[in-house]
Symmetry: C2
Subunit: 384 residues, 2 copies
């Protein structure tokens, strides 16, 4: 194997679909645009396409960079996975990243113009579900001339999409790769999402979700509920890391070596969290964050089967790769095992790996050797 | 043993201390008042006194009730522990509950008048530490004519006080009972506190901590940062319960049996959390909450010994009862074991119980049989 390389300079594309899309909620969108990126070449048989689904705060910019002068700042979020010589090898696979419906990075979402009002949708953008995302992605699949994905892969909320693809379009996906995910959120998972939502909704700058129309005095750019979004991200971030990793990275280390007896930053962990919150609040849209947490809460393939996950997964025809991480307390290994058992009960081919990694839920984004080795092995085994 | 009974109708008392108190921060208070309650009778030898220290949101009202017509609503927070025939038996012990300095239930705190300005302290109330609380409690100890406590007992932040008593006044405490506690917060613990603080501080109604002076138009009562305090309590509450208990109590149960596709309450866990947040925000003071989270963050007896807990606990002379709960992920059993090991290394007498209870951190407040049995056994063994 050659030394892994970057896919290099990339640029996003968009595809617009003019046919209305009926949503799970009963609402419908008159049409929509999806932002996406592709890496590698679609082969003649159109049999080497892999869809990468993003998680709560991700987007279509999976690999490569936008600016050669600022490679690190403009790098794709799963660049360590996708590229020539990397586990998802672009010399072999045609890889597609897509920004989900309701997103804030180029796909139609709350920031987009509502054709009925001529103003941004804001709070009037309908809530979308994982099923709706798959339906929208299916249009992109047609647009790209792909009958069936060689694989659909994702971590966390992205893993839910990989699973849902196998249920929604069993004939259009050959391998479903579900990483650091869960068949449904627990009460604790929902509770953390609810705190995040309440932080945003109770921010006076939220204006019931129509903040795009509000401007600070003498300021041309709209105000946004930054304070609420910052809190939402801070609490989310705690759940992405493991207790052990936090202890190792930050422990009780103080910024200035002594107590200051005020509410400024004293411990390094406070500095880290505030920085993560501030950065996110500058770049992400609060309405998109809200609706993505609801998509997480709603996801439950077993709901229509009275909670019977075996019955819910009976439709799947794909082979499965499932992976979890030992220190992930957001979606712990036992949640992945529920998926594995239900698939095995349905006679599916399942590869399952429980990876020892101290980085908690965020482990799925890292290039730890064992993790990348099992991903590589599985992906190499996919017949094109 | 008789059937356990209530201590009955109780009333708070106050004690005012006019001598200035120097605080760990370097600040000092010109004098202060502590609210407290007592249950049972001090014996002739003054050898049967037990101090109950409260946790983050507690106060001096430990047992009994204030209103016979509203017993349940006015019941003390540890009423199941304290009373005739209960583990902390008031037929044998003289039990004292105290509201800590900086509190919002009668002791001097941010809501109190600052003699220098004639206005409430607000943000000018100095930050207080567990050590400062012990120093203030020591004045109350003198006031009550008690040379040495038979025991000091507390859970969580209350357990830290029970431990600190043994270090600060080794000759004035015979038994230290440290329950569901930790020798110091982890990075994750601090992180959750920091989210709570940022929620309060970033609430526009916080007014830099001087919200008592602000009034809504046409409203005689001051405004308070309810929205921030509510969020702080919601996130705190998640850490008080166990994942398993939440799953059992709420799971994915929906309020109306189907998805509504909006941000109203859908899952029962959302309803529960919002209710807990609302209730707390109505009754607790945000400045007190802030300073209590800092007292938690700062607590670390080993800090002055370069992190060496064995060295830090060498001063203790008391016997110890330490208890933890299997599902407590805020202060997990291993944190209690750190205390136990350090005490054993110093040759102290230690009883340690790891209690199987599914209620997470809040287990210390419940009357589970095994827990109350070990408490009873230990307390019965205390020689008066």
């Amino acid at each position: 194997m050659n030394h892994p390389q970057s896919v290099g300079l990339v640029a996003p594309q968009t595809a617009t679909f003019n046919e209305a899309l009926s949503l799970k909620s009963g609402a419908s969108l008159p049409g929509f645009t999806l932002a996406y990126e592709t890496y590698g070449q679609l082969n003649a048989a159109h049999s080497n396409a892999v869809l990468v689904c993003h998680a709560l705060s991700g987007n279509h910019h999976v690999a490569g960079f936008y600016d050669p002068e600022n490679r690190k700042q403009t790098l794709g979020w799963w660049d360590n996975l996708v590229g020539p010589g990397k586990p998802l090898d672009t010399r072999r696979f045609f890889v597609v990243g897509v920004n989900n419906l309701g997103g804030c990075h180029g796909s139609t979402g709350p920031m987009s113009m509502n054709p009925e009002t001529g103003k941004p949708y804001g709070a009037d953008f309908p809530l979308v579900t994982v099923e709706d995302w798959i339906a929208a992605q299916a249009r992109l699949t047609d647009h790209l001339g792909i009958d069936a994905w060689a694989a659909v892969i994702g971590g966390s909320l992205g893993g839910m999409q990989a699973l849902q693809w196998a249920l929604e379009y069993p004939e259009r996906i050959r391998h479903s790769m579900v990483i650091a995910s869960t068949p449904r959120l627990s009460a604790q998972n929902i509770a953390f999402n609810e705190v995040a939502r309440q932080a945003i909704i109770s921010d006076p700058d939220f204006h019931g979700g129509h903040y795009y129309e509000h401007h600070a005095d003498g300021n041309a750019t709209g105000i946004t509920p930054k304070s609420g979004l910052r809190l939402a991200r801070m609490v989310g971030h705690i759940t992405y890391l493991s207790d052990d990793q936090m202890a190792e990275k930050f422990g009780r280390r103080m910024r200035h070596g002594k107590h200051h007896f005020n509410y400024d930053i004293e411990f390094e962990i406070e500095s880290y969290l505030r920085h993560q919150g501030d950065k996110f609040a500058e770049t992400f849209d609060a309405n998109t964050y809200l609706l993505a947490t609801k998509a997480l809460d709603y996801f439950d393939p077993s709901f229509a089967c009275g909670g019977d996950l075996d019955a819910a997964l009976a439709r799947a025809r794909a082979d499965f790769f499932v992976a979890s991480f030992t220190t992930d307390w957001r979606f712990a290994p036992e949640r992945s095992r529920e998926i594995v058992y239900a698939l095995l009960h349905n006679g599916r081919n399942v590869s399952y790996a429980e990876i020892d990694c101290d980085a908690g839920h965020d482990s799925f984004l890292l290039a730890t050797p064992h993790y990348h080795a099992v991903l590589t092995a599985y992906l190499e085994g996919i017949v094109l």
